[in-house]
C-alpha cells in the first residue's frame, strides 16, 4: 500500500511537471535511459545539470555587470546554457533562454536583464519541483 501510494504520488508529480510545461519529452528520453545498471540515471543527470548550470548563471551575471554590451558573449554563454537545459528537457528554462538570446541579437540590454531574471526563476522553480519528484520516485521504486 505504501509503495502504491508513493508510486501514485510520484506519477502524479511527474504528470504535473509535464502538464505545467516544466518538462518536455526530452526528459522522457532520460527516463528511458534509466535501467537496472543505472537506476538513478535521471537523478544523476539532473544533479549534474544543476551543478553545471550554476556556472552559466554566474558567468552571465558577471558579464551583464561587467561588460553589459558584449551581447555576443552573452549570447554564447546562453547558447550553451540553453543546450544544457534542453538536454534534460527543461522546457520553460529553455524558452526563457531563447528569449534572452533574442534580446541579445537586437542588443537590448534591458530585455536581457529582465529575461535573465526569468531564466533564473524558472531554473530555480524547476529545481525544486524536480528534486522533490525524484525523491518520491526513488522511494516509490
Amino acid at each position: 500500500m505504501e509503495g502504491n501510494k508513493l508510486q501514485r504520488q510520484a506519477a502524479c508529480m511527474r504528470n504535473a511537471l509535464f502538464d505545467q510545461g516544466y518538462l518536455d519529452e526530452q526528459f522522457i528520453q532520460l527516463e528511458d535511459l534509466q535501467d537496472e545498471a543505472n537506476p538513478n540515471f535521471v537523478e544523476e543527470v539532473v544533479k549534474l545539470f544543476y551543478s553545471d548550470s550554476a556556472r552559466f548563471i554566474r558567468n552571465i551575471d558577471l558579464t551583464l555587470n561587467n561588460s553589459p554590451s558584449d551581447f555576443v558573449k552573452l549570447d554564447n554563454i546562453m547558447h550553451q546554457f540553453k543546450g544544457s537545459s534542453s538536454s534534460i528537457g527543461a522546457k520553460k528554462v529553455k524558452q526563457r533562454c531563447t528569449q534572452f538570446q533574442e534580446y541579445c541579437k537586437i542588443g537590448n540590454f534591458e530585455g536581457c536583464m529582465r529575461t535573465f531574471q526569468e531564466v533564473k526563476q524558472e531554473h530555480a522553480a524547476l529545481k525544486k519541483k524536480i528534486e522533490s519528484y525524484l525523491q518520491v520516485a526513488r522511494q516509490a521504486r
Partner: protein, 647 residues
C-alpha cells in the same frame, strides 16, 4: 540490425568494423565512438545513449584532448561526435583536423539549428549534424556513416587490390590513393581492413536484410529473385506480367510495383546477357578506376543533392531516404523514386571531380563529402560554395552530365538559381556528346524524401530534378568518384553512355554487380528494386563504391548503383542511390551502395560491403565494353549483368 548476443570482442587493432572478429555479427554494436562536448550534462547523456546502442564510448570534454586521443590511437575509433561550440577549440576546426589527419566520419552537434551553422558543418565535411537535444533515435543510426565511409574506402581498395578487374587495376592503381588527395595512407592500411570489413558488412547486410523485413524497401535477395525467375519462367517471359508474377511468387509484402520494376530490370538483364557474352565481372567494365577520388564527387553530389533539396526538389525526406537507401537500410521503399539523375552526370560529375579532387586538398574533399551528410532532411541551399565545388568536380568530369545536371538544378530552380547558374557556367560540358541537358536528371528518382542527406551529398547527382525527389546522394561518393572517374574515363565511352542520352538515361550500373561479384553473395541480388515502379529514369544511381581512395567519401549512402552504361536508368532512378553516374564512361567504380530505393536492402549493397567495388567495377566495365555506347538504358540490372549470377 542484428546485434547479436556476442560480447563485443573486436580486436582493437583494426577498426572495429574491420576487425570482424565478433564485430561482424554484432555490428554495429561495438562501434567505437568518441564524443566531445564541454557540457557535462550532455556528455553524460550521450554517453549513456551510445552505450545503450551497444557502442563503445569514449567521452572527452576538450577538443584538444580529443585530438590527442585520436592521434594516439589512430585506429581506435570509428566515429567522432563533436559539439560545435567548445571553449578551447571551435568544433569545426576540430572537424577539419580530424578529417585531415584521421579521416574519420565526424558528426557535429549543436543546439543551434540555424541553416548557416548546419551549412558550415556541411562545408567543413561533417558527415552529419545533430540538433540538440539529441535523441536516442538519432544516435542509433550513426553507424551508417562509418559503414559508408568504409565502404567507399574499401571499394577503392578493392579495386586496387583485386586483380580481378584488369581494367580496374590499371586504372585504379594509379588513381587510387594517388590521385586523390585524400587518399591517405590510412586508406591503404585500411585496405585489408576494408576487405574484411566488406565481408563483415556483407554479413551484416545479409543479416540486416533478414532482420529488417519491415523495411519498406524490397531487397531482392537471391532467394527472392529465384522465386521471381521461377515465376517468370513458368509464365513464359512473354506473358510474364507483374501481376501474375506477384501472384505466383506469393510473397507477403511484395507489391506489384516491386515486381514490375524488378521485371523491367530483369528484362534488360536478359537482353544484355544475350548481347554480352563474357562479361565476367562487370566490374571490369564497370568500375573503372575505382579509386577515383570519389570523395570529391560525393561532395559534389552531395552538393547537388543539397541543392536539389534546397531547391525544394528534393524534399528533405528524400534525402534521408536516399541516404537510408544507400545504407541499404533505407526505410524507404524503393518507392522513392530516385530520379536517376543522369547517371552520366553523376559520373561525369564525378570524374571531373576526381580530377579536381586531386588538386584539391583533402579537406576540401572532405568538406564536400561531408556536406552531403549534413543534409539530413535539411534543405540545403546550395550555396555558391557548394556549387563551386560542384562545379569543380563537374568540370573535371566530362561535364556533360554535370552540365545537364547542373542545368537541371538550375532548372529546378530553386534554391539558388544563382549558384546553379554559376555552376552551369562553369561546368563545361566536356566532350560529352550527349550532353543533353535534358537528360540530366530526368526523373526524380526518389520520390520520397527520406533520402538522407548524406546520401545526397555524395554524388551530388541530382537525382531528382524536377521533383523534389530525394536526391541521391551521389556526392558522398564523390570522393570515390573523383578517383575513379579519372580512371574510368577511359573506358568506353562511358561518358556517352552516361551522358544523358537523351534524357539522361544514364543508368548507372547497379551496384548489384558489386555485390555479386564480391562474393557472389547469394543474397545479393541486388536487384534494385524499383519500388513503386520507379521509373528509373536515367539517373541510375550508381553507387560509388570507390571509396577506397577516397577516404573522404563520406559514408553516405552510396546507394549508387553502378553506373553502367547500359544501366537503365529507370531501374535505377528509383534508387536514390548515389548515382555514380559520373562514371559515365568511366569506369567509375561505382560502389554499389545501397540503392535506397532499391529494395535490396542489403541487397545490392550491403552497406557494409565493401565489395562492391571490384564487382561493380568489373561489372561496370564489362558493361561498358559491351554496351557501351548504348548508354541508354540498358538498365544494367546489376545482378544480371554478371554472368555468374545465378539467375
Amino acid at each position: 540490425m542484428d546485434l547479436g548476443v556476442k560480447p563485443m570482442s573486436y580486436t582493437s587493432s583494426n577498426v572495429s568494423l574491420k576487425s570482424g572478429d565478433g564485430v561482424s555479427d554484432m555490428f554495429p554494436a561495438g562501434l567505437r565512438v568518441l564524443v566531445v562536448d564541454d557540457d557535462p550534462t550532455c556528455l553524460r547523456i550521450l554517453e549513456k545513449m551510445l552505450k545503450n546502442c551497444l557502442y563503445e564510448v569514449t567521452t572527452c570534454n576538450r577538443a584538444e584532448l580529443a585530438l590527442k586521443f585520436l592521434r594516439d590511437n589512430r585506429n581506435g575509433y570509428d566515429v567522432v561526435i563533436s559539439d560545435v561550440h567548445m571553449p578551447d577549440m571551435d568544433g569545426f576546426k576540430l572537424l577539419e583536423h580530424i578529417g585531415l589527419e584521421m579521416d574519420l566520419p565526424v558528426i557535429m552537434m549543436s543546439a543551434d539549428d540555424s541553416k548557416s551553422v548546419v551549412m558550415k558543418g556541411v562545408t567543413h565535411g561533417a558527415c552529419d549534424y545533430l540538433i540538440k537535444p539529441v535523441r536516442m533515435e538519432a544516435l542509433k543510426n550513426i553507424w551508417q556513416h562509418v559503414v559508408r565511409k568504409k565502404k567507399y574506402e574499401f571499394k577503392d581498395k578493392d579495386y586496387e587490390q583485386s586483380g580481378s578487374v584488369d581494367e580496374l587495376d590499371r586504372q585504379q592503381k594509379p588513381n587510387n590513393n594517388e590521385d586523390l588527395d585524400y587518399s591517405s595512407s590510412a586508406n591503404e592500411g585500411n585496405w585489408k581492413n576494408s576487405k574484411r570489413r566488406k565481408e563483415e558488412e556483407d554479413e551484416g547486410d545479409e543479416r540486416d536484410d533478414s532482420s529488417t523485413l519491415k523495411k519498406p524497401r524490397v531487397v531482392w535477395s537471391v532467394e527472392l529473385h529465384q522465386q521471381f525467375v521461377t515465376a517468370v519462367n513458368h509464365l513464359g517471359i512473354d506473358k510474364a506480367v507483374p501481376k501474375k508474377i506477384l501472384e505466383l511468387m506469393n510473397v507477403p509484402g511484395l507489391t506489384r510495383e516491386n515486381v514490375a520494376s524488378h521485371l523491367q530490370k530483369y528484362r534488360l538483364y536478359l537482353r544484355r546477357l544475350s548481347g554480352v557474352q563474357h562479361q565476367n565481372g562487370l566490374t571490369n567494365s564497370f568500375m573503372g578506376p575505382s579509386d577515383m577520388p570519389f570523395g570529391q564527387m560525393s561532395s559534389l553530389n552531395g552538393v547537388d543533392f543539397q541543392a536539389l533539396a534546397a531547391s525544394g526538389q528534393l524534399p528533405p525526406q528524400s534525402l534521408a531516404t536516399i541516404q537510408a537507401a544507400a545504407l541499404g537500410r533505407g526505410p524507404t521503399k524503393s518507392s522513392i523514386p530516385l530520379p536517376l539523375v543522369d547517371q552520366r552526370n553523376i559520373f561525369s560529375f564525378e570524374n571531373p571531380k576526381a580530377r579536381f579532387v586531386e588538386s584539391q586538398s583533402q579537406s576540401q574533399t572532405q568538406q564536400h563529402i561531408k556536406q552531403v551528410n549534413l543534409l539530413h532532411g535539411i534543405p540545403t541551399n546550395m550555396d555558391s560554395k557548394q556549387l563551386a565545388s560542384l562545379h569543380q568536380s563537374a568540370q573535371s568530369f566530362n561535364n556533360m552530365n554535370m552540365h545537364n545536371h547542373v542545368m537541371q538544378m538550375s532548372g529546378q530552380g530553386q534554391g539558388q538559381p544563382q549558384s546553379r547558374s554559376q555552376i552551369l557556367n562553369e561546368i563545361n560540358v566536356s566532350d560529352l556528346p550527349s550532353s543533353s541537358s535534358s537528360s540530366v536528371i530526368s526523373q526524380p528518382v526518389l520520390s520520397q524524401a527520406n533520402i538522407p542527406t548524406s546520401f545526397l551529398g555524395r554524388n551530388g547527382i541530382i537525382a531528382s530534378l524536377p521533383q523534389p525527389s530525394t536526391v541521391v546522394d551521389f556526392s558522398s561518393q564523390t570522393t570515390d568518384f573523383a578517383g575513379s572517374n579519372n580512371n574510368i574515363n577511359n573506358n568506353n565511352n562511358n561518358n556517352n553512355s552516361f551522358s544523358s542520352k537523351g534524357s539522361g538515361e544514364f543508368v548507372p550500373s547497379y551496384d548489384v554487380f558489386n555485390d555479386l561479384y564480391q562474393n557472389n553473395r547469394p543474397q545479393d541480388w541486388r536487384v534494385q528494386n524499383v519500388q513503386g515502379g520507379l521509373d528509373v529514369s536515367p539517373s541510375v544511381l550508381v553507387q560509388q563504391r570507390f571509396t577506397t581512395s577516397n577516404q573522404k567519401s563520406v559514408g553516405q549512402n552510396r546507394g549508387l548503383s553502378v553506373i553502367n552504361n547500359n544501366i537503365n536508368k529507370t531501374a535505377y532512378s528509383e534508387i536514390g542511390q548515389q548515382i555514380n553516374s559520373s562514371l559515365s564512361d568511366n569506369q567509375l567504380r561505382i560502389k554499389a551502395e545501397r540503392l535506397p530505393d532499391m529494395g535490396f536492402q542489403n541487397g545490392i549493397f550491403p552497406h557494409e560491403q565493401h565489395f562492391g567495388q571490384e564487382d561493380l567495377m568489373s561489372a561496370f566495365l564489362k558493361q561498358q565494353q559491351e554496351g557501351v555506347g548504348s548508354v541508354e538504358n540498358e538498365f544494367g540490372f546489376d545482378g544480371y549483368h554478371l554472368d555468374n549470377l545465378p539467375v
